[in-house]
Symmetry: C2
Subunit: 202 residues, 2 copies
């Protein structure tokens, strides 16, 4: 039976973007499936009192370097956006509308949103940018634009944020293998060992 990776990410997270570029290949190589779960770090930071990484003294400048350096390490194109961070609300709602109504396009949409932001410096809070990304994938843009404002979709995102906090998610990317939590794209080697050995007691 294929193992389940749950992948929580915020569309404004550079390490989340890197993870989004590599996680599907990683999962295939290790006999796992990935459930993509965009969420919003804002409510989580409110809960934890944390500040965005890049705003922290010492850690911020280091992170700026480490993000760009990590992109090269993981062989992922990357350009730090001029507007950062950005609110991933609209993109996340559009993702959940697609997941509900046009499921095959949801993951490619998430990847395309990340590329628009972290490769081409586009404004992913703009409905026309999100619409164009969806159109390029062949989605029904009119239905998506209206549907992303459905209460059910708004609720779906809010529930995902609540669920993330309840599961102890405090950053992006954040993975679970079944119920085992892994924070950060740098945990992929450990996740690989976890998947291939069946995990270990500690």
């Amino acid at each position: 039976m294929s193992k389940a990776i749950t992948f929580y990410f915020d569309f404004s997270s550079p390490y989340g973007y890197i993870a989004a570029e590599v996680i599907e290949r990683f999962a295939r190589a290790n006999g796992a499936n990935v459930a993509w779960r965009p969420f919003l770090l804002g409510p989580v930071f409110k809960e934890t009192g944390a500040r965005p990484l890049v705003e922290q003294p010492l850690k911020g400048p280091y992170s700026g370097r480490d993000i760009a350096r990590s992109a090269v390490f993981y062989n992922v194109p990357f350009k730090m956006p001029t507007r950062f961070p950005m609110n991933g609300l609209l993109a996340a709602r559009a993702f959940y509308w697609l997941a509900a109504h046009d499921a095959a396009r949801a993951v490619p949409f998430a990847q395309a949103v990340y590329r628009a932001y972290f490769q081409r410096d586009q404004d992913i809070t703009a409905p026309e940018v999100i619409g164009k990304i969806a159109a390029n994938l062949g989605a029904d843009v009119a239905a998506l634009g209206a549907g992303a404002q459905d209460q059910a979709i708004k609720d779906r995102l809010r529930q995902t944020c609540d669920e993330a906090i309840a599961r102890g998610v405090f950053g992006s990317p954040f993975f679970f293998i079944d119920d085992e939590p892994f924070w950060g794209v740098d945990r992929l080697p450990m996740m690989e060992k976890w998947l291939t050995t069946g995990g270990w007691k500690y």
Copy 2:
């Protein structure tokens, strides 16, 4: 020419302990030398406003798991100390006295202090514990006990802390390859690529 890794660590840091168990083998495998630099995270946290990892909401409980899990991943014996964190001041001063007067014993001493704390739950703030560790290595314990209080040794540690902050160190372990900063034992794969390729622009 051998490459230079500078290894900053706090004696109270569990990830620093894991790094101390693996860094020499890592360096040898990659044609590098390691300069060990114990420092104190306290003054750094004062500078950055950061709190110890384990005290942070959500991140704290996760870190407790990740530390124990990482120890297994890196194949390093580990038992979370009952008294945590502990002040590494005395151990760090003893290290710098050894580095100045009995250099060959300094690194084995640092490793032994870490093992006393993270394998056997010993009180590494106690002069008799530090003395016994030094004695087991064949060091001159009387000279060490007196010398660790020399103003020159106190200054050496203070300078190392100042230097760490000036170089942007904000956590433990923290490595430099020449002037390239790497935070965390989880950066070893990237450091390996950096060492073997000569680094990359980003």
